[in-house]
């Protein structure tokens, strides 16, 4: 279990993170939400051991994460917001480099690289350089590089920026697959629909503090219920029923219900990855 306890971090005397605490359990996707400048990136940096907190601790199964080499950092993978790949190296060479940095060697490294490529659907492009990849492929390889050492915890900082729906859908499938394998995922994003689809729990940060933490449904309950109720009717709508409801003084907003625009797009263009 990844646990952040009372994290504080200041820059030039101004607190960026002020007492953030949360936990992410095994097999859980934890969403980290917040507006720009809320303190998400600083929190993520402390989770990865990039920054030492001014106060507070980050532990993984009780072991603290330092800012230098240690065994705990081997159990964490980081997917940066930027596409952090060496464009001059092939996909497999990028994976081998990051695998080696985490102490994976020899035959095991080959296996891990193959598995990571397979997970993100880039096996047939192993020897190609990222410079020849589409944006979506680069994002997937970016994730593969964070997975190559088979971490227990994967921290993803806005991993779907600038990708097409097919690639985003593929990335979501990858992440759900990782959750099913028991990995812990911390996912930061600005896109609410991503959080709704993926995250088991959501932590909202603003002004360096946790202002809410719950499931999506739990967070929705934080707002008072409105007098308007939404009723979904399956099947063919009987005009007599609608007329009866209207006769009872209820306002009817009639129209065909349908899938989201993204679902329509995926239906029209297919779910096949466009590489």
């Amino acid at each position: 279990m990844l646990q952040a306890t009372d994290l504080w971090k200041s820059y030039a005397g101004k607190p960026a993170v002020a007492g953030v605490s949360f936990t992410a359990a095994r097999g859980e996707i934890l969403g980290l939400l917040g507006p720009n400048g809320a303190g998400k990136s600083t929190t993520v940096s402390m989770l990865c051991g990039l920054f030492r907190p001014d106060r507070g601790t980050v532990t993984l199964d009780g072991e603290p994460i330092g800012d230098n080499a240690n065994g705990v950092k081997r159990r964490i993978g980081l997917v940066t917001q930027e596409i952090s790949l060496h464009e001059e190296l092939s996909a497999i060479a990028n994976l081998r480099l990051f695998g080696a940095l985490y102490g994976v060697e020899g035959g095991l490294l080959d296996e891990c690289c193959a598995e990571a490529l397979d997970l993100v659907g880039l096996t047939d492009r192993a020897k190609s350089k990222p410079a020849t990849f589409s944006g979506g492929m680069k994002r997937r390889l970016n994730i593969a590089c964070a997975l190559v050492h088979d971490p227990d915890v994967l921290i993803l900082d806005e991993p779907t920026v600038g990708v097409d729906p097919q690639s985003r859908n593929a990335i979501f499938d990858n992440l759900e697959e990782l959750r099913s394998r028991g990995k812990t995922l911390v996912y930061t994003t600005h896109y609410m629909e991503e959080v709704e689809r993926l995250c088991d729990r959501i932590v909202i940060i603003d002004h360096g503090k946790v202002i809410a933490a719950d499931t999506a449904e739990g967070l929705q309950r934080l707002l008072p219920p409105t007098s308007t109720r939404r009723i979904e009717i399956e099947g063919v709508v009987d005009e007599e029923v609608l007329a009866w409801l209207a006769g009872r003084g209820l306002a009817i907003r009639d129209g065909p219900s349908g899938p989201s625009l993204e679902n329509v797009f995926l239906h029209l263009t297919g779910r096949q990855l466009r590489d």
């Binding site: 940096s45 990039l50 950092k73 930027e82 990051f98 102490g103």
Partner: protein
Amino acid sequence: MKPLLALARADIVMYLSNRRALLVTLAAPILIAAFFGSVLGGPPKNPTRVPLAIVDLDSSAIAKSIVGAMKADASFAIQEVAEPEAINLVRTGKVRAAVVISPGFGDAAARALFQPNVKKPEILVHYDPSQAIALAIVKGLLTEQVMKAVSSAAFSRETGSPVFAGMRVDVENNDKLDEVQRRDLLALFDSIDRVQTSSATTDATTKGGATPGFSMPFATRELEVTSGVDRKYNGYAHAFAGMGVQFILFMGIDLGIGVLLMRRQGIWKRLRAAPVSRALLLGSRIVSGTVIAVILFAGIYAAAIAFFGVRIEGSYLGFLGVALAFALLTATFGLLIAAVGRTPEATRGIAIVVTLLLVMLGGAWVPTFVFPEWLQTATKVVPTRWAIDGLEAMTWRGLGFEAALAPIGVMLAFSAVFAWIAVKRFDWDE
């Protein structure tokens, strides 16, 4: 160790995979060194003649003798023209200087030879200020030819007798001279008269006798001091040392900028998230930079040896030591750039200026001996000078390993200072 090697290997592969950049980094120093080596090379087989204009406004025997002697001198390419044209030739850069022999020069010069208190005749030298070094050559060789011509004329009966006859009258009528001085000077003139008479008789009978006069009391024989008796100086050795140092330092800039770009792309953040120490991250940059610099060194000197006759006449071990020390210096220089730089764009501009200053002061473009004395002393704190001096010592100077120790030591010390500053200044925050 494995992560360090993996990082260093990735850096090296990335650098070498950019074939175009690699080709430029190798080809540029070779081409420029070939140019400088051919232009500033060793003693040419056909020495360059200094183009010079000469104007004879005197037309005396002495003046004609000077002009004739200078025309015969292999050091000059003489054009005898009118004064305005001569000055124009200097102004347009077609000759280095114009020598103007004033009217009455011959007579006055012979008198001035024995009478230091009389007003001396002038030879005007119009010179090109951009070629001022040629002025010294012209004045030196002019002195030699004028002294020969004037002294020879003074002792010649034909041209010298009228001169001495005039001087005899001056001495006899000079009230300021005491009797002893007057007697001694007249005795001197009598002696010269006898020499002139004897010389004229010898000329008439043998037709081979030399006219008495002053001549250069010595001759010089130039001997190159190189690595061996049968070894010739190879100007390419200096040019390749200089250009090699310059372009390998440029590679160091690329390494430093690479770190700044990695920061921008988030790669550095990801590397830092890995379970490796800061020392390993920076150390891998030093290892990869050193290896790449050695590879470039090998490529540049392979071309120098294969195509330009550069040889390691001194200690092979010393050469290797100097090359390795400079490679390490380059790598730490790159790290320093990464530590103090902010944005890749701004840092590249500043780093190039600093590098060009370093290589210029180090003697990569022109040898340091052309610098003023104070600057020559000052350049001892420039690491590139030690690199070039060390490479030259091990190549054409043919010195032993002990001559490489100081350059190696100084460059290692600079490397340590660069690395220390880099580590202290490195910004670990993202």
